[in-house]
Symmetry: C2
Subunit: 307 residues, 2 copies
């Protein structure tokens, strides 16, 4: 195979109770990428549409991630890359992760699959390191593996796949304000109250139980975050109002997607999803802030080949 075209999905990380360890793959939002082998021993970004992102291979997350993979393989294979970005950079739904994970997925396919999806995570994380200064896995892991991913630990890296209850849907609202992951991390205090941490791990443990038992109400009750959300939500216009509106209209839970500014409402089934989406839209339209609004089921397989 000389060329491959893929869909690289958006992802929702943190999910309230799972800061830095939990992520979920979305189905309807994502980029398209074309990778083609070249004989130049070089990684080249030929074009990027939809977003203004660096084309130089040392500054683009896609090429940096592929480079990490090639170094491990001892390969000097070159690739030409074309990216159609639909996920806005800095939106909080894994824009850099889609490019990083998509790039290593596609390159791995063209090289005859020397790695499985899980093994690609560590290379895609190098793209995240470039994007945010932090080689986190909670977006690239679900992008590569699909469904819910749990990053159990970083040293050593251990990522688990968790079940995806079939009726879970996400509504994603992206207020079009600028909020860099770096800045969004800066507001976070490095010390937390033990009692808050206990509450958080009680909720995350209950959330995982809810995924296994398909207990949607329990999943909803577990989407609580007394640690990060109070610090970050002040950066997102009308966060509390939106949250109340989503919950009043039937959302299971509501929180910040990744490091924001996107927010997510988790819903059960299509009817609740449509209601919540409509209510969030009507509320935000009044506020004079531009926004994107999406809804999506869970993508259970992650990145997929288009042709």
């Amino acid at each position: 195979m000389e060329e491959i075209k893929i869909f690289a999905p958006a992802t929702v990380a943190n999910l309230s109770c799972g800061f830095d360890v939990l992520g979920c793959c979305l189905d309807t939002i994502g980029d398209q990428m074309i990778l083609r082998k070249n004989n130049l021993n070089k990684l080249r970004i030929l074009r990027i549409t939809g977003q203004d992102l660096p084309l130089e291979s040392e500054n683009n997350v896609a090429t940096v991630a592929i480079d990490a993979m090639l170094k491990t393989l001892g390969s000097t294979q070159g690739f030409d890359i074309e990216i159609d970005k639909n996920i806005k950079a800095g939106s909080g739904i894994g824009s850099s992760a889609a490019s990083s994970a998509g790039a290593v997925f596609a390159a791995n396919m063209l090289l005859g699959e020397p790695f499985n999806s899980k093994e690609l995570i560590v290379f895609a994380m190098e793209g995240e390191r470039l994007a945010s200064g932090n080689a986190h896995a909670d977006n690239v892991a679900p992008a590569l593996m699909g469904g819910f991913s749990l990053v159990k630990s970083y040293h050593p890296l251990e990522v688990l796949s968790l079940p995806s209850p079939p009726e879970i849907r996400f509504v994603i609202l992206h207020p079009l304000i600028e909020l860099k992951t770096k800045d969004s991390r800066a507001v976070i205090k490095q010390q937390v109250q033990l009692k808050d941490a206990i509450g958080q791990w009680g909720n995350l443990a209950a959330f995982v139980s809810g995924l296994y038992t398909e207990d949607y109400e329990l999943i909803g009750r577990s989407l609580e975050d007394k640690i990060i959300e109070p610090m970050r939500s002040v950066l997102i216009p009308y966060f509390e109002e939106l949250k109340n509106i989503a919950l009043e209209n039937g959302a299971l839970g509501f929180g910040i997607s990744g490091s924001g500014p996107s927010v997510f409402a988790m819903c059960k089934g299509d009817t609740a999803t449509a209601n919540v989406k409509k209510a969030m839209q009507l509320f935000y339209q009044d506020k004079g802030i531009e926004f994107d609004l999406h809804h999506s089921a869970i993508n259970r397989t992650g990145i997929r080949i288009l042709e």
Copy 2:
């Protein structure tokens, strides 16, 4: 029914990654209690064997727990209580919880079961409040419900039952030193590093996943505690050496039971359990500290009626 005799089991709380939220019920270690209705509108402890504990109803965890239940019922029913304690007070395997949970379980039976097991937790917690100053549920919940219990939250109180993989065994070593729950709580700092908290909730989430998938190795790898264990283990003689010996001899994991001084080794199957128990015994015999040593499967049903 005028009289009931029950077995009130020991429990292991915290389990390394689940501080204050996780507990498990043991099968072979426990107290016996007899409750009998009286017509005096009084709660009386007639005798306690095995341990030197208060007989006055306002100072004993069993009567305090029953009193909380009777107040909710608006009942003035009296009970006479006899307790044969096999679980040493202050051992860290839920001695006060066995008495509190056993008492409300037995009284509830004699009253025609106005409450289910889960509803009894809140009354048994009043016994814990008396014993340690903290109305925690991570021992009384598994004592009442059996298996693994997760305390998702205290406000409101929500307790979940988690699966019990069939081959899990515990080895419990109780060094006969005095360590009060109050003192053991005093060494704990109320602020923790966010990065340590993230590690802890990643491990607890993975532990819960391991219970559902019966992945014993994952369960073992998740039994890690970078927050509480470093503070408390210094109070337990030869903790690190015991831990290494247990792990070298095939334990899945090792940690402090409750607030100590008992320690637990979690093992898979009877052979590993026997090996780990023998190795821990041989090591501790040399040290000149008296100790009790038990092993047990998981008790899946909790408190049981003896006759």
